[in-house]
Subunit: 345 residues, 2 copies
DNA sequence: CCTCCTCGTGGAATCGATTACACGACTGCG
DNA sequence: CGCAGTCGTGTAATCGATTCCACGAGGAGG
């Protein structure tokens, strides 16, 4: 592959001049500029990004470590992050932690070794020493969706509490009193926050949330299935199951089906994180939707602010409830014919 | 950040010795080795991958350019590729082309600029000059899922023809005669191959495939919706719609719903590419499943063979039909000797 | 005792870029 | 005509690693 020296030779100038042309430095004569441009074209020369990064100490690359690529929420997040970064001239390298702390650390380490300019993380656990150390060492970093408390790193996330209150109002309005929740790992902020918000909202309606109705999941489909089976085995099973992410909702649906039960007649179901497929499940699933695209854009903005020396800021955006049919019909149906997607705010 | 020089100073040896310790070179005394190890630990030193890559001319990184990350099929492919690559000591950088040739070229270019060791591509179009050029220039490359004809690059893919014949048999056995297909872009091999296989299989049953029943899609949900609406507007709409990817099937389902029609009573639906959500749609959707994980692993194996100087080989794996309820029930009750695999929901 | 190996080590070149500095040519002004 | 400034360009240092080569010490063998 042609190097800058080959271009210099071909154009009859020094490498310094070639470099200046490449970087649009003003003090280059028109003559030299055109000769260099021609040489670049005939040789099909492309600057070696590795060499350039070594010299300039910047890679124009962002690392994104997410908890689980197979979760459509994170896929969409990754997509919007890449899009926003590309618009600002940055590339993104994605690391998939698969909800496994050691895999998360592996990716953080290799990203750091590659000297990425900044790191976007949705932590799988409560705080790996590696990440803490990186943050302390001054690696530009922003948490997205989940975060680690007590670390001085901006956080970009959605606040689901209002939407969870709306959901509880919806459920109670439907007459449900025995409601259960499939929690995410307590080590994740989203895991504990959603349970707490749910409990508080229920309390406002005088509805208890007994321990037996709190199942411990891990944000993966299989755990949703397992926890739901536990609920169904209870002497008095819940009337509603609220899965705190979409994958666990899928598992819950599996478990309900496997027993030959129907949603919502036999048991109601709601989920955190809305995805396109929820419109088409049987029945369409009531879910809490995050402004995923906005989240990704805001996270990139914050990180690049931090990288380029501007003060970054944390961002919290509201989530919203999207009512469908998986929790039962309203006793007074406003529009009995409309099949899907009503949203409340 | 500490460099190799700092480690050398701390350990009281030369950078050459540090490098030898880092790379497990045999001729280093035990004494020096332990001193270097200690220095590495106290400084928290990590080798700079950028500098190393510049010197060794290898990045131990693979590029993967896929057509659309939001398509669960490709998400899964990406995941299995990353997993297989990691097991062999390589990282993966994913580029999402979003079915747009210019975006595909953008990613190929930045990947090449970063001097990745090899490129895995699922081409969005019939052959960008950039990719052809890269292949000719000797960049290790492997096509996965889709490919560009006439280029000497190994291909790892699933052959859907047998499964499509099974699907046609299933449809004809159900008594359907007016069958339509939503095709992918003709420029992609999968786009044209699936239509052709479908047409040939239908011919064996004496069923025609009129032009009016061939809709042109682009592998995105919106096109599935648009094409399906066109079918429904026909004076004699089809009895079955076969979407050649899962996203277009989703769009088709949308369009059918929007008309207040039901699957499969009013119109049957089948899709290429099976995904977990198809079990839970209303009704569960009959689909052709690819061995996605195997495909990803085989592609990585082929590419790394090529990179490390072993002869790479093309791989073709069979896809298989998964019958669910979206094409209607068999007229004759549960028939266990069906040649195709039934899924238990 | 001298020679020849082997072994561990360090010096220095190298990868492909960027950029500080020096230098020569030219311009303009006094 | 001479001096100062501007402009375009080239030389060389540099980034952080790897690796070839040379060198000195020590052991084995003649």
């Amino acid at each position: 592959m042609a190097s800058i020296k080959d271009v210099a030779a071909e154009a009859g100038v020094s490498v310094a001049t070639v470099s200046r042309v490449l970087n649009d430095h003003p003090s280059v004569s028109d003559d030299a500029r055109t000769r260099v441009r021609a040489a670049v074209a005939t040789l099909g020369y492309r600057p070696n990004a590795v060499a350039r990064s070594l010299r300039t100490d910047q890679t124009r690359t962002l690392g994104l470590v997410i908890s689980d690529v197979m979760n459509p929420y994170f896929t969409e997040l990754a997509r919007s992050v890449e899009e926003a970064a590309r618009a600002l001239g940055y590339s993104v390298i994605i690391g998939n932690a698969d909800e496994r702390p050691e895999l998360q650390d592996h990716h953080v380490r290799t990203l750091l070794d590659r000297r990425i300019d900044g790191l976007l993380v949705s932590p799988t656990d409560g705080g790996s020493p590696l990440m803490l150390e990186a943050a302390r060492a001054g690696t530009p970093m922003v948490f997205v969706d989940r975060w680690i408390p007590g670390v001085d790193v901006p956080v970009v996330r959605a606040d689901g509490r209002a939407a969870i209150r709306d959901l509880v109002a919806h459920l109670c309005g439907l007459g449900h009193r025995r409601v259960a929740i499939i929690a995410g790992p307590a080590a994740t902020t989203t895991g504990s926050e959603r349970v707490q918000a749910f409990r508080e909202a229920l309390a406002e309606y005088g509805v208890p949330l007994p321990d037996a109705y709190i199942g411990q999941g891990d944000f993966q489909a299989e755990s949703g299935r397992r926890v739901t089976e536990g609920f169904l085995d209870l002497p008095e099973p819940p009337e509603v199951v609220f899965a705190t992410d979409n994958l666990m909702a899928l598992g819950a649906l599996d478990a309900v089906r496997a027993r030959g039960l129907r949603v919502p007649c036999d048991i109601a179901l709601a989920a955190f994180d809305d995805i396109p497929w929820f419109v088409h499940t049987d029945p369409p699933i009531t879910a809490i939707a995050q402004p995923t695209g906005e989240l990704g854009r805001a996270a990139v903005r914050a990180l690049i602010d931090r990288i380029e020396g501007r003060p970054p800021q944390s961002v919290t955006l509201p989530a919203r409830l999207v009512v469908r049919r998986s929790c039962g019909e309203h006793p007074d149906p406003p529009h009995p014919l409309s099949p899907v997607q009503r949203s409340t705010s």
